[in-house]
């Protein structure tokens, strides 16, 4: 056999796809087995692809990871290069399923049998997921690269379920804020608040504004417009928020959490957005700025979690371990623009990242922001309100 065939065979052995006997038989190295075993690390290194992060992480030995991983996540949330590197190292192809709200993810999981492996839930969902038993309590021995002491507590803490216990349902991916992006070349009047957002949407920016297809943020920010809490479930306050949303709706360009394409094409000038999208858009089109409403809004943290009964559980853990490597997480963050939680990873970030006001906003803008609450996600009034607004 030639060199490439041998390399492929060896990689398969490394990945646990074929066992030792099969490998030795196929490669015809039965007699030299002992010698080979002794030389394995050296031979392995020379056959592995030489690229940046490969030496920082290796797939677990002897574990068959299969060839697919189903990752359910948010728009524009991962660097394709990071995912491709994982595939290169393990042979596992990653299939992405994209949603724009936690509710849609929850709804599918509640309906059952989705075939998903890894989920990217937000901080307020763990109570619900824990209650319904939809996520697996993480076996941290399978994620050796995750060192919880390096993670900022306020971002990691929501993943403990029940609250206060040591069981973790997820490891931190990143955190961020919910504000809005403005294409200042077209929308020339300065905007700083949710009042500006909703008022101008009905006025001079009619037909150019987008809101999330997501009850929590859209209703939440409409509540902020009136000065109420982002997490309010009070029926009177909700009624006022509904009024605002209904008044704005005919003037909106679209109701969607996939706002990057219209913003890039110039069909939309203003869109309710998350931190990282602000970073990505601003990087490519400097006229697009990210605004956090002065009245307040949402601060959130996201996690990687393994779904209970995942069909590719081993690959899921391998992926989590891979993403927990500070170098990998930092490289990913450099692309997607969301601030990460691991201090070791933060140290690896370039200076312009750490100084970017979109990623690390001013304290006076950050302090009024609220973390979403579990009840906000599941409250029936809010859910029905949203459905009514969309049906109108």
């Amino acid at each position: 056999m030639d060199r490439t065939q041998f390399q492929k065979l060896y990689l398969d052995y490394e990945r646990g796809r074929i066992d030792r006997r099969a490998f030795l038989k196929a490669s015809g190295l039965g007699l030299a087995a002992a010698v080979l075993a002794a030389c394995a690390p050296g031979a392995g290194a020379s056959t592995k692809p030489t690229a940046g992060t490969s030496s920082d992480w290796a797939p677990p030995k002897g574990v068959n990871l299969g060839d697919t991983l189903n990752l359910t996540t948010w728009p524009n949330y991962h660097d394709q290069a990071t995912l491709d590197k994982f595939t290169e190292l393990t042979g596992v192809s990653i299939a992405l399923t994209i949603f724009g709200s936690n509710e849609e993810m929850l709804a599918q999981l509640q309906a059952g049998s989705t075939g998903w492996d890894v989920l990217v839930p937000t901080n307020y969902t763990f109570e619900t997921y824990g209650q319904l038993g939809l996520l697996e309590v993480l076996d941290l021995s399978k994620i050796p690269n995750f060192v919880s002491s390096r993670y900022e507590a306020r971002f990691l803490e929501p993943a403990h379920y029940p609250a206060g216990s040591s069981d973790l349902l997820g490891i931190s991916k990143d955190w961020g804020t919910t504000g809005y992006v403005v294409n200042t070349k077209n929308a020339t009047k300065p905007m700083t608040s949710w009042k500006d957002f909703f008022d101008m949407a009905q006025g001079e920016l009619s037909g150019k504004v987008m809101i999330h297809d997501y009850q929590l943020t859209s209703i939440g920010n409409a509540l902020k417009y009136h000065g109420f809490s982002f997490n309010s479930v009070d029926p009177n306050e909700l009624a006022k928020a509904e009024e605002t949303l209904l008044a704005a709706k005919p003037h909106l360009f679209a109701i969607s959490s996939d706002y990057q394409p219209p913003m890039r094409a110039g069909d939309a000038w203003v869109a309710m957005a998350w931190t990282g999208d602000g970073v990505q858009l601003n990087r490519d089109i400097p006229d697009i700025k990210y605004i956090i409403g002065s009245e307040g809004g949402e601060i959130w943290s996201d996690f990687f979690a393994v779904i209970a009964g995942a069909p590719h559980r081993d690959a899921a853990y391998a992926f989590l371990d891979y993403m927990a490597v500070p170098k990998v997480m930092a490289a990913d963050a450099a692309f997607h623009g969301y601030p990460i939680v691991d201090s070791a990873g933060i140290d690896l970030l370039p200076a312009e990242f750490k100084n970017n006001p979109i990623i690390y906003p001013d304290e006076k803008l950050l302090s009024p922001l609220e973390f979403g609450a579990a009840v906000t996600l599941t409250d029936q009034n809010r859910a029905d309100l949203w459905n009514r607004v969309k049906s109108a």
């Binding site: 060839d67 697919t68 994209i98 049998s113 075939g115 394409p261």
Partner: protein, 315 residues
């Protein structure tokens, strides 16, 4: 054209000079309208095919010609798996629905009118019910049934055979849900054909002492075959391209429409979608062409078409 023969007798010279052919002006309008309609129908398809040959990165830009996306599409394991799933689902649905639907249509001929009306109502509901409704309802049904059966199965399963099988939504549930509509379609088509069929041939066959099975095989079946074939094709096409019902009951499985929809929802879209669509279109064209040629050859051999074999024109 027959109108011309009854037109008033005007000397040929005068007609040529003074009365323009009344059909020509209207003809142009009709031709223009039809031309526009075909343009309307085919411009989007044309664009899809065109962009499948782009050497660029996105399905919206045309940057040079290349076959790279055809290669990329068929090397993509998600695509090939989705294609394979869609083919399996389509074939199974077509086979099941055509078989069950045909025998049901035959049986319904001899059943009491009241019972027949009941089946007709169910068939009618199966056809008009929107896909989302049946999709959601089927999902709820499956989840509840499996949730009930799986513990039972785990309880009675002998341990020597390893772990008990776990029922879950997948290929079988997709086929099951598709077959409801497809079977109803088959029943409607075959019954329509049966209604229009010449009964006397069957009676003659019986008079000549042929067994019911022989009558069926040699008289009824040949007359029904165009309808059965058409039903098979329609069932397959429906199932292969079905998205809504599938999206609810698919569980872990990805069919081609599911893959396409999730790609569309994540712009920028890669042109491998265009490549797949073009291949399917070409394949369909090929099938239609060969079907038509076979039909033409068969018709020539069988002589002028009789009323019985004219069924395909109706469909």
């Amino acid at each position: 054209m027959t109108a011309g023969t009854l037109a008033p007798k005007v000397p040929a010279t005068t007609r040529r000079r003074r009365i323009p052919n009344p059909g020509l002006g209207a003809d142009r309008v009709f031709r223009a309208h039809s031309g526009l309609v075909f343009l309307f129908l085919y411009v989007p398809i044309g664009l899809v095919v065109l962009f499948s040959f782009t050497a660029g990165e996105h399905a919206g830009e045309m940057r040079g010609l290349s076959l790279r996306w055809y290669g990329a599409a068929f090397e993509n394991q998600f695509v090939t798996r989705a294609l394979s799933s869609s083919l399996q689902v389509g074939l199974l649905t077509a086979v099941l629905s055509t078989t069950f639907g045909t025998i049901a249509a035959l049986a319904l001929q001899r059943v009491r009118p009241r019972l027949r009306a009941a089946y007709d109502t169910l068939t009618y509901i199966a056809i008009v019910i929107p896909g989302i409704v049946i999709g959601i309802a089927s999902l709820v049904f499956f989840v509840n049934v499996f949730g009930f059966l799986n513990p039972l199965l785990a309880g009675v399963w002998p341990s020597e055979l390893g772990e008990a099988p776990k029922l879950a939504p997948g290929l079988q549930t997709i086929v099951g849900a598709h077959t409801v509509f497809a079977m109803a379609l088959v029943i409607v088509l075959v019954r329509a054909r049966l209604a229009g069929m010449d009964r006397t041939l069957g009676e003659a066959s019986a008079d000549l002492f042929a067994t019911p099975w022989r009558t069926f095989r040699q008289i009824t079946l040949p007359q029904l075959s165009p309808a059965i074939l058409a039903s098979f094709l329609l069932s397959f096409t429906f199932s292969f391209d079905e998205y809504v019902i599938t999206s609810f009951v698919k569980g872990n499985v990805t069919t081609l429409p599911i893959y396409v929809f999730s790609s569309i929802r994540r712009p920028p879209v890669k042109p491998d979608i265009n490549a797949i669509a073009t291949v399917i279109l070409a394949f369909t064209l090929l099938m239609l062409l060969s079907g038509w040629l076979i039909y033409r050859r068969g018709a020539r051999r069988a002589g002028p078409p009789s009323a019985a074999t004219d069924a395909t024109a109706d469909v």
